[in-house]
Amino acid sequence: MFIELTNVSKIFRNENDLDYQSLRDIDLAIEKGEFVCFLGPSGCGKSTLINLMAGFDFPTTGRILIDGEEVSGPSIRYVTIFQNYGLLPWRNVRKNVALGLESQKLGKRERNERVDELIRRVGLTNFGGYRPHQLSGGMQQRVAIARALAVDPEILFMDEPFGSLDALTRMAMQEEILTLCEAKKTTIVFVTHDVDEAVFLADRIVVMTPDPGRVRKIFRVTLPRRRNRASPDFLKMRDDVIAELDFIKKNCS
């Protein structure tokens, strides 16, 4: 297994010394090249979980292995994409995309070619000199994706990456991320609260319940790729997942 979570729990202590259990006993294994979506109502710990896997925080108990090694911090081998993009506003698109390449031993020409290639792949060729605030949300997220792919990561951690985009842009971005990661078969761990998004993207959907965050059920999505959002199979899958979420809602409130 590529990513392996064993008995992972996370407890946060607030300033009044009160403990809050965000995650309890998460056991999960993710294969190389798999697209896994974490789905659940807010407060189910899905963002906490992705933070732990990406190495920004550590589990209170249990352990997380990536490629057989315990996660000890963030690594350039697995890049996180955030909902609010995390672009550097003082750098233009080209320089934002080049960020991860700067700490690597690359010639100037090689780096420039790589940046050009990625900007082209995300369709921003004519926007290299623009600064993030001059771009729409969808374009900004494409810059963040190009920046991540520039360092050839083995895993992409995506924390509600399309959460602040409008519905049409969001659907376009979902198609795009699949196309971009198809060739290299990048492993993608994706957090969302949008059922359609999960069914469209995922090989497996991990449904989580809140208080404390636990894995409730795992759906395997076997629909062939280039999924048709209006097909009966798609809608059936979607209904199944929604039924599960409804069940959580009724039993946890």
Partner: protein, 262 residues
């Protein structure tokens, strides 16, 4: 836009006009001898005199040179130390009480020591300017680091950006728009203390020109120097406001950025 501009110009002229009218009125009342209150026309002739013999220009250049050396050295030092202390919060907790005690002491109060340590001449005035600008920039830099958006640090860690590049490439540019507030305050403070610094033991500069004119009973030239200091200070302030706006535009912090549709 043109309407706004002409209203502004009108207000400036009106304010200046009232000031000159009051000044001229007091002079015409005859109650104050010209040595205590030099009349406007005498000040104008004073401007002509030190303008033509080059004294005003010479002293103003010396002042500006000293000012920029002191101000830039001070800002650079304060930013570097501010980044350092702001990052190492535990160290700052120890340093902060000391800074809070030193900060209210006017740079001029240090003058006896400044002279003992740095002698007389150009350096003491520059040191006073340095000290006046130092604390606003230091404190705004430390405060700005604490407010940095954590996402920048996450991105930097993710891409393996280590010190000193983390400071140079990420932290400093991320907080720069906040540091400018301190740079602006420091500019004003340093300009004000520059005059005091030049009054103590220098032989050149606008502050010296004031002392020198007083010693020669030329109060008209004192006023000339004061007006020059005011106008140059105003120009510096306008310049840093423009710089502030430029930075906000580049960083995308200005009002109503142009949005492009994807």
């Amino acid at each position: 836009m043109r309407g706004v501009f002409s209203v502004k110009l009108f207000n400036v002229l009106l304010g200046m006009g009232i000031l000159f009218a009051l000044w001229e009125g007091l002079v015409l009342s005859g109650r104050y001898p010209p040595a205590l209150l030099p009349p406007p026309e005498k000040v104008l002739r004073g401007f002509q005199e030190i303008g033509e013999n080059g004294a005003l220009f010479r002293h103003a250049i010396v002042t500006l040179k000293r000012f920029f050396i002191g101000y830039f050295a001070s800002s650079a030092t304060a930013i570097v130390l501010g980044l350092f202390f702001g990052w190492l919060t535990k160290l700052w907790d120890v340093v902060e009480p000391v800074v809070q005690v030193l900060r209210p002491i006017s740079p001029v109060a240090w003058y006896p020591f400044i002279v003992l340590w740095f002698g007389i001449g150009d350096v003491p005035a520059t040191v006073v300017i340095f000290m006046a600008g130092f604390f606003p920039v230091l404190l705004s830099t430390v405060a700005a680091i604490r407010l940095i958006d954590p996402i920048y640090l996450k991105v930097a860690r993710n891409f393996g950006i280590k010190q000193p590049f983390l400071m140079i490439k990420i932290v400093f540019p991320a907080i720069f728009p906040n540091i400018i507030t301190g740079l602006h305050l420091a500019l004003g403070a340093a300009w004000i203390f520059m005059v005091a610094g030049e009054m103590l033991g220098t032989q050149s500069g606008l502050g010296f020109l004031i002392i020198d004119s007083r010693n020669g009973f030329r109060t008209d030239l004192v006023v000339c120097s004061m007006i020059t200091i005011g106008l140059l200070g105003l120009a510096l302030d306008k310049a840093i406001v423009l710089f502030e706006r430029w930075v906000n535009r580049v960083w995308g912090l200005g009002p109503s950025p142009e949005i492009r549709r994807s």
